[in-house]
Amino acid sequence: MVSLSGNTYNIKLKNGYNFSIPAESLEIVEIFPPRAAEVSEVDTPVPAGKHKVSIIGTGGTIASRVDYITGAVKPVLNPGFLRDNVSSISEFDMDLNLMEPMLSENLTPDDWIRIARLAKTGLDKNRGTIILHGTDTMSYTASALSFMFPSLSGPIIFAGSQRSSDRPSSDAFLNLEGALEFSKTNLGEVTLAMHAGLSDDRVALHRAVRSRKMHTTRRDAFRTIGSEPLGYYFQKKAQLKGDYRGRAKETVLMDRLDSRVSIVFFHPALVASDFEAMVQGKKAVVIMGTGMGHTASRLYESIKDTISSGTKVMMTSQCISGSVNLKVYSTGRELLSLGVIPLGNMLPEVAMVKSMFVLANYPHEDFEKYITENMRGEIVKNEPVFQEVS
């Protein structure tokens, strides 16, 4: 078997090894037409069980395969992979809805709206909705959906994977298995189901608006920041605990977002003109300040001008964990007096997504009221001292 990649022929030997030869060093004598692929994994239909669940595929590693042309992993959705490896699959009646697969880093707020609408349709007909999604921006999309659904008749559970499903060690199957089990519960929030640790024995369920990808490659990269996960799937059982929102009578979707927002990461080399350039044309800007929410005083003038021009300026912390508090230090008090809105322990990315939602759905003058209100659990009230280690 010979395949051409760039200027290199990859030749598969009988013992399975590939053998690469520069194209120029090979003289082609005769070309045989390719044989039909011998696929032993036939796509037999997935059996229908009693739990009705909607599955929306958006792309991402959870449904990726190696692209043997470029050699890289590309999203290619193949739902058949569920059948062989998710032991409980026969209990479910899956309502599959596969979007054109996209890499999650390319998703935009418009895509979030499309996904939200599919999720609404899915929930109207099923007990829960599982969204297969790339991990890169999973927390962003999930947070957006969290705000867009003030009321949910069932859970929306994002599942992704950090090891592609064409690897024997893939985390995709367990994550999906966990998501399926959680779809049976009384949950009525937007959440993420991802590995809780390095072992294939526990999936954590994270509240979307408190979740964050905290490692580039580990399977337990996702964490609930400042609180415990909403539950765990462990020993084949999905258990919720703590303060989750239950199913509501109906699902309400508010599908407007204003994407004229941005994040400013403050650092010691950032000068006023940088800040001004970054907020140009934005309706709202989230600053990731230092510590409890500070910036250098050299930015105050620009911040003041920005606020007087009608742009909302909010403060979060680049520390990720913990609350901003603009009352403790003099810097904070000055920022407060300029009109900067402190967001407590809201995560910077969540604050950015939430501001899109608030801008598009509430009167301009109520922005501060809604952005600081704890709408979906995006603010943790009592941060635990030691978090359960999984």
Binding site: S20, A37, P168, D200, R218
Partner: protein, 603 residues
């Protein structure tokens, strides 16, 4: 009818240094108390096929526990992609290929070889072809080398409880040269010769790791009934015996196949007979019943007398299958009564109703596994009947072999896309060319001329694979005879004393200290002993008075003190001083001081 015996070898040699795709050391000092548990899913390879060995593993449905060691990082636990390839290992693989007259590939192209017995956390082994089409000259003619691959070694199995297997991760990712010969080897002695010839090149170059698992052989054997791969032959001597056993086994199966081919296996059907064993005297059955296992019985159609009778050992062939699925044991009619089973035989036979030529067997098993075991036993008997004996076997302590799993196929390979394809540049070939392992004679000559030590010392150092250490010791100490003595005598002596291995990298800082402080041989020996025998830390060692020779002032005070109490002369002053202090001193300096003291008006 058996044809000519054909034997091929796969020699696996671990390279020391750092791991293949990260910079963790290949050496480990301890297993930590941290572990994690995984499951592996069967995926199809590049061609869409699922490998038969992998499919087979899936049926066994096991979980794997991995123990972390001090030489593991995120890569070893499958939590990040491979780093850059270990260039030193790659150069050594190329150099070895050249030494074995192989052609070297133009591009190194890493593959993932699916292995889901848990020995790789990723579920695959990274492996790349480096050389091919080579040969070595042996006393019985050329043995051709079909391939030389540079791969990641697998994790080390610690415990196997059937459904849960435990591995230590210290070995995972260690660079492993896999050198496969063509089946040009004619018998066991020839196999030993060939393995030795190849292994020695790497040991003498100082590239191979030391330790019991550093060099392992797989033996490929065929006498016309398909290829049998015997895994994990640790010592060369066992090659001979395992081959003898295999010839005998296949011959007996050849005879057997004639007798059983055409027999229907419909009556091989396990039925639960636990009730019969409720009051059994058999300890093994009792224990297994307590653990929730049950007892099953079956007819073995037309097999009476072949299960264990003279050369016939079909019982063992079936037991091998049962054990792989965690069975608590199998007992068959050729060995019953026995194992404490006697009273049960009558009701058993009444229930199973074997025919005149039928054997029967009872099997202790987890009820969940009984269907699988039955299926696999039938497959095995059919293959024996048709004399298709190809399979993977494993060697046991008694140097016999056991069935392990079906032979893997090429289906288990697909490209490792996280490692870019690397062209073998002209520079790399040149660099590798400079380090090609030499013949024994060449090497000894080189060492003698380079370090100025005796041929005998050179031979000892080289055979032990200590050449690099000699060079390093020489570079630090600047004294070849001291360096050679260190390697040949001082270190082995201390190792004998502490009954353990000392890593040379732990010795290096002491050598550096020695150089800094200008220690002589005696102080160095003493320092090494304090460090490894008395476990004194390097910091303390550096400050220790014990290791400072007495200076002139101290010597003078001590001699004066001795002179107060007794008559001293140049003849007795040295033993007197030795009796007073364990610290080192320069005897000639002591004599000088004594002389000058005597001359002066102190007396």
């Amino acid at each position: 009818m058996s044809s000519k015996v054909m034997i091929g070898l796969e020699i696996h040699i671990q390279l020391k240094g750092v791991k293949l795709f990260c910079s963790c050391s290949t050496e480990s000092r301890n297993i930590t108390d941290r572990s994690f548990t995984r499951y592996l899913y069967v995926r199809s390879g590049e061609t869409g096929h699922i490998d038969p060995a992998a499919l087979y593993e899936r049926e066994r449905d096991r979980t794997f526990t991995y123990l972390l060691t001090d030489n593991t990082c995120l890569l070893d636990v499958d939590e990040e992609p491979p780093h850059e390839i270990n260039r030193e290992a790659l150069l050594r693989a190329i150099a070895t290929s050249l030494a074995l007259n192989c052609k070297v590939v133009d591009r190194v192209s890493y593959m993932r070889k699916i292995v889901i017995d848990g020995s790789n956390t990723s579920g695959f082994q990274r492996t790349a072809l480096i050389g091919f089409n080579g040969w070595v000259e042996t006393s019985r003619g050329k043995v051709h080398i079909s391939s030389l691959c540079l791969e990641e070694d697998s994790a080390r199995k610690i415990n196997d409880e059937g459904e849960n297997v435990t591995y230590s991760l210290d070995r995972l990712g260690v660079p492993l040269l896999e050198i496969a010969t063509e089946p040009d080897i004619v018998d066991g002695d020839h196999a030993v010769e060939t393995a030795e010839l190849i292994g020695k090149k790497l040991i003498m170059a100082g590239w191979a790791r030391r330790g019991p698992e550093a060099i392992r052989q797989d033996v490929n054997f065929s006498m016309g009934f398909g290829r049998v791969e015997i895994k994990g032959v640790p010592k060369l001597s066992t090659i001979r015996n395992s081959l003898k056993y295999e010839v005998q086994r296949q011959k007996s199966l050849e005879i057997l196949s004639e007798k059983i081919s055409g027999q229907s296996l419909d009556h091989l059907k396990f039925r639960e007979v636990t009730g019969i064993f409720e009051k059994t005297e058999s300890k093994v059955i009792k224990r297994n019943l307590d653990n929730g296992y049950r007892i099953y019985g079956t007819i073995l159609p037309a097999l009476k007398g072949f299960l264990k009778n003279g050369d016939f050992r079909l019982g063992k062939e079936l037991a091998d299958v049962a054990k792989l699925y965690g069975s608590g044991g199998i007992m068959h009619s050729d060995e019953l009564p026995g194992y404490g089973v006697e009273a049960e035989l009558k009701p058993l036979v009444e229930k199973l109703k074997p025919g005149e030529s039928d054997g029967y067997a009872i099997l202790i098993s987890d009820p969940k596994k009984i269907t699988l075991i039955e299926k696999e036993m039938k497959i095995r008997l059919r293959r024996i009947a048709s004399l298709d004996l190809s399979e993977t076997r494993v060697i046991s302590d008694d140097e016999t072999t056991h069935y392990l799993r079906p032979l893997p196929g090429g289906e288990r390979m697909y490209p490792e896309t996280d490692v870019p394809i690397m062209p073998v540049s002209r520079e790399m070939l040149e660099e590798a060319g400079k380090i090609i392992p030499k013949t024994e004679d060449q090497m000894i000559g080189d060492i003698v001329s380079r370090f100025g030590i005796s041929r005998q010392d050179a031979f000892v150092i080289m055979s032990g694979g200590h050449l690099n250490e000699l060079a390093e010791a020489f570079e630090i100490l600047g004294n070849s005879s001291l360096a050679s003595r260190l390697i040949i005598q001082i270190i082995p002596d201390i190792q004998k004393k502490i009954k353990g291995e000392i890593d040379f990298s732990d010795i290096v800082p002491i050598l550096k200290l020695s150089r800094e402080r200008n220690w002589d041989r005696q102080i160095l020996e003493k320092a090494l002993e304090m460090r490894f025998s008395a476990n004194i830390s390097l910091e303390v060692l550096g400050e220790s008075d014990e290791l400072k020779p007495l200076d002139a002032e101290e010597l003078k005070i001590m001699i004066l003190d001795i002179m107060k109490h007794e008559d001293v002369s140049p003849k007795n002053i040295i033993p007197r001083l030795r009796g007073r202090t364990s610290r080192l001193f320069d005897p000639s300096r002591a004599l000088e001081i004594l002389t000058s003291l005597k001359k002066s008006n102190h007396i």
